[in-house]
């Protein structure tokens, strides 16, 4: 390879990353589902003819990282590349061959240059509805969760499969929006194809073979080098979470070997009867994301990086639930997996990973209307509505920094402004602020959760679809750091609500949601008293908590009593 070829490969790799970014932006701009638009719950990537991923856009969700990458190989098994023609496009929402639940559509399109197939583009997006019982974990089989579309053609030689679209429209509650999202997926693949062809013309390329080999080899070597800089060995860690009907243990054994990392989930709990089960592809995605954040956060994702992290789990466990398990809320498990792998990595490499955090999103899903809170007699008097807003508790403290408050990890979503939700529904938020004393005490304090207080302006009940974690088992600290506060869901009138499933808030009552805090890092008695005093001044912790948890005596306006603090810390 000449030295200018080397430069050219770099430039083209750079361009390929831009091509998939443009593909993803096209999708985000045209998508309908809130999670796609607001949270960037989409993926976009370009693949070689063997289905190996060459580049993937950096979007809001790690849940698609490996899952979409593997999906293309499933498509090629059903439709080998030599059967594909210009203008063909394929689709599926198979949770086990796509990205883990029926709400995610994956669309794959081949790209042709001068009549020869040169690449495949794939994209994934979360649609607003797929029929069934709706996006609730109360289903017990995949059949309850909606329409299942096996891998099949979406368009043949440029002609859309109208019969399929007809079937989709007949089976979902928001046919126009879902069809719009399917079109958006196909369109973003076209954008990717157009940009790729422009690049191939600019650099006079007939195929992506050499460039693809350069990308995959360079990335693989980079990953191997990064892994080989880590200590070799095997470490096991278990984290217990709330689950639906009973607590769940997530157990991982992480092995750092020669140029690869293997994470195995043997020992994890069996499957749930409800829709919080996780298909293997989604387990792989969040596990690989967690590991990659530590090993090589800056190397772009492609087949070369994915191969370096292997994820296995026995079938019929909560992390490898086969068909026909219910899987719609698979994120309940998936979001927790980076914390589990961090528990392993912490043993291998101290002072790198954060303490446990809230991790699973506290998505506030509210509704009122037919089949939820209304019967024939009151329909028409009260306003029906659905609210689906992503929120987060506190993240875990880092070895040298406090945890981030009300910030998601590992998910990368955004919330919806309170004023927007209030403008389109009768809901009123009376409070949305940091929850004092919720961050796990530690040398580095865990991030704070937030408290939300919600009512209906109309004299009508409303419902909550709860899928909340860390209510019974909090986020734990590391190295002596204390756990973050447990989450809590209750009525303003006092009654506690369950953390999973649909429940009613009576007319005139308020819903109070107190989100969990992140775990602390290091012993709280080692926290700099000035930092504790600053937290009191900011009212992030109370003076009482400063004394009890940190052994720091500080006035309510944040003035530190150094002498009393020394005495207090010596006596504890």
């Amino acid at each position: 390879m000449s030295e200018m070829d080397q430069i050219r490969f770099q430039v083209m790799w750079n361009r390929l990353l831009s091509v998939v970014e443009e593909q993803a932006q096209t999708l985000v701009r045209t998508a309908f589902s809130t999670s796609a638009r607001e949270a960037g719950d989409v993926s976009a990537g370009v693949f070689d003819l063997d289905g190996q991923m060459l580049a993937q856009a950096v979007t809001g969700t790690p849940g698609h990282i490996n899952s979409m990458a593997r999906a293309v190989i499933h498509f090629l098994k059903v439709f080998p590349s030599d059967t594909m023609q210009e203008g063909d496009t394929y689709i599926t929402n198979d949770p086990w061959k796509g990205t883990g639940h029926l709400h995610d559509f994956t669309v794959v399109s081949p790209t042709f240059k001068d009549g020869v197939m040169v690449a495949l583009f794939a994209s994934t997006s979360h649609v607003v509805d797929i029929g069934g019982i709706g996006q609730s974990p109360d289903g017990k089989q995949i059949y309850h969760e909606g329409l299942f579309i096996p891998i099949m053609p979406l368009a043949t030689r440029g002609v859309m499969n109208e019969w399929l679209l007809n079937l989709v429209r007949a089976n979902v509650r928001e046919p126009v929006q879902v069809e719009g999202d399917i079109y958006a997926l196909a369109a973003c693949n076209e954008t990717g194809s157009r940009r790729l062809l422009a690049m191939m013309r600019e650099y006079d390329l007939e195929s992506l073979d050499e460039l693809g080999a350069h990308i995959i080899d360079t990335s693989r070597v980079g990953m191997e080098k990064a892994i080989n800089d880590m200590p070799k060995g095997s470490w096991t860690h278990t984290m217990r979470i709330d689950g639906y009907e009973s607590p769940i243990d997530l157990t991982a054994t992480l092995t750092i070997g020669d140029g690869e990392i293997v994470v195995d989930y043997t020992g994890s709990s069996g499957t749930s009867s409800y829709g919080i089960n996780c298909p293997m592809c989604y387990t792989e995605a969040y596990t690989a994301f967690g590991v990659k954040c530590v090993v090589a956060p800056k190397i772009p994702n492609n087949a070369g990086t994915l191969d370096a992290i292997k994820v296995t789990a026995p079938e019929n466990t909560i992390v490898n639930a086969p068909h026909p398990h219910a899987v719609v809320a698979r994120a309940t498990i998936g979001h927790m997996l980076p914390d589990v792998t961090f528990g392993c990595l912490h043993q291998a490499m101290p002072d790198v990973v954060p303490a446990e955090g809230t991790s699973n999103l506290w998505t506030v899903k509210l509704g009122a209307g037919h089949g939820m809170t209304m019967t024939g007699s009151n329909e028409g008097t009260w306003t029906p509505f659905m609210v689906n807003s992503f929120h987060s508790g506190g993240a875990g403290a880092r070895p040298r920094q406090d945890g981030l408050s009300a910030t998601p990890f590992p998910s990368g979503v955004r919330n919806v402004p309170v004023e927007i939700t209030e403008a389109i529904t009768p809901v009123v938020f009376w409070r949305k602020e940091f929850r004092q004393n919720s961050g796990g005490p530690g040398k580095r304090r865990g991030g704070l959760g937030q408290t939300m207080e919600i009512s209906n302006r109309e004299a009508a009940p409303f419902g909550i679809f709860a899928t909340f974690e860390r209510v019974h088992y909090p986020a734990r600290g590391r190295e002596g750091g204390a756990p973050g506060a447990n989450g809590r869901v209750r009525l303003g009138s006092g009654t506690d609500l369950k953390n999973k499933g649909f429940q009613m808030i009576p007319a005139g009552d308020r819903l109070i949601i107190e989100m969990p805090g992140g775990g602390g890092y290091g012993g709280a008695m080692d926290r700099d008293p000035e930092s504790v005093a600053a937290d009191v001044k900011s009212q992030l912790i109370s003076p009482e908590a400063a004394a009890a948890d940190y052994g720091v005596i500080v006035s309510v306006d944040g003035v530190l009593d150094g002498v009393a603090t020394v005495a207090k810390r010596q006596s504890t």
């Binding site: 932006q25 360079t218 990659k292």
Partner: protein, 694 residues
Amino acid sequence: MAEGAKLAVDIGGTFTDVVVEWAGQQKSIKVLTTTQAPEEGVIEGVRAVLDTAGVTPESVQLAIHGTTLATNALIERKGAKTALITTDGFRDSIEIAYEHRFDQYDLYMERPPTLTPRHLRFGVPERVAADGSVLMGLDEAALKALIPVLAAENVEALAICFLHSYINADHECRAREILSVGLPDVPITLSSDVCPEIREYDRMSTTCANAYVQPLMAGYLQRLADALEVMGVKCPLLLMMSSGGVTTVETAMANPIRLVESGPAGGAILAQHIAAENGLAKVLSFDMGGTTAKITLIDDQQPQLSRSFEVARMHRFLKGSGLPIRIPVIDMVEIGAGGGSIASLDELNRIFVGPESAGSTPGPACYGQGGTAATVTDADVIIGRIDPMHFAGGKVTLDIDAAAKAVDASIGGALGVSIMAAAAGIDEIVNENMANAARVHAIENGKETHGRTLVAFGGAAPLHAARLAEKLGVERVIVPRGAGVGSAVGFLRAPIGYEVVRTRYMDMRNFDAARINSVFEEMRAEAEAVVRTGAPIGDLTETRTAFMRYRGQGHEITVDLPIRAYQAEDEGMFQNAFDESYKELFSRIIPNLTVEVLTWTLSLSTDPSLPKPVEAPSASAPGVPQGERTVFDAVSGQNVMTPVYSRTSLEPGATLAGPAIIVEDETSTLVTAGFDAAINSLGQIVLTKKGAAS
């Protein structure tokens, strides 16, 4: 004599540019920015440029000023000690923001610090609903109780932002009355004044930012206006805003946040005028300086406008790492790519360029001021695009050996390639970064870069424009004269204008023409009051937009509306206008979905009077090169002997073929092998792709 002289002043981070135009002539000067008392540098520059031009201060009839001072105060967090008064239960909305991590993989990410610390954020019991009705009255006693607390904290500025105040500002106005009695010397910003728009975090952020920079900016603007008057400049001072319009000092002192990014807006106005002079419908304005490059889409000679942008991005220009500001702005994408941008290798030996910059001190390695980092300018020297003997008109001799050493140490050695290949790589990557950002920006706006004309200005742009054009599918590039002070020249072309906004939610199923008419009447009155202070007479041009979306979507699109009173039958017109805009952006409409309006805007300005397209030069003749030198060609990977032309020797009508370099004092224009160049009748360099229909 110099009747009707016009003066423009642009304060940047390093230099203050001053331009005077009189009787068809133009003079400009660059002086160092005097950060501690910026008005001193301005006065020095004004005095110098007027002396050179032989223009008296008294004959200046128009003085327009743009400045990055507000932006810098936000970036450096050097504003006033600011307190926030908000609805009880929402004092953390300013910090919780969008509950978003802007860097997916960074476990150690930090959120940008807020402008108001938590102990200076106070909740007051009160509540307005989304429809403007009052759910809970304002607790005046609670508010009064804050006065001694705020006084004891020595708060210097107050921001008041209650929920839904964009529709009912009564509580905010009452709160100002109460607090201004107790704290008469503390300036107060109301969210319902500065940003009456839905989305509490963005509104709160804008309100706090305005309060935060107000004492500083008001003091500075008053001192500058006084100093100019003392000097003899009798005309009122006007201020450039980020929207591309100019306004009075009084308005600027009340809404200093609108001055943020006023410099780059001037550049876009210049590009707009060049588009008009050349009769171009689709333009990409490309401004590349020492630290950043800015790219703006200009369609039908109107710069793309927006109502939101992010200031003070902390982290590698990443989206979400700054403070959202909702004000009228010329929409531009800013990339950490300039002459001083530093090149390095990552863990995979991939070349990265920027966003860190060597700035002006120590500057690129070739400046010989002790800089050791390899920069874009170093690469340009090595591959022959910059003549080291004739940089800045020959006033500075560049050290090519230092450049070579830096590039070899940072890139070439580790990569195992020659210094020439490494330098070419730096150049290709920086061009690629800009091209990618431009393409993504276009796609986010439902547009293409393909088929546009690039207007290139700023010190580094003419060197990189041709290669950027090749990457963007652009077949024509225009390099104006005096590209180095482009922003200040743009100020002189800007109209006096003001834009106002109102959020009034309307579901199109409940279309209410009377309500819309009354909103526009109210906005027209507000805008006219502001514009008439700067332009007491003459016709005004009004534009109206609605921010509309399908019910259930998260983002609105901008829909232009006709200027007239609406009737009940106009419901269909609104629907059609939305459909057309939606189709333009997304290539399709979604039938049967309800459409809603969130926000309305009205902007009012004096006649922007764009120039008519100029005639082609009467005759053309080949230009004569002054010499030649070796330049490395990125496309062929070869060194090519390249003729060098002096810009001053090229008269209108002169033509030349690429590869070539056209040198002038402030910059050089690279004509790649794929382009030809000609000088048009305004002295602008026009590059045209070989074989393209001109």
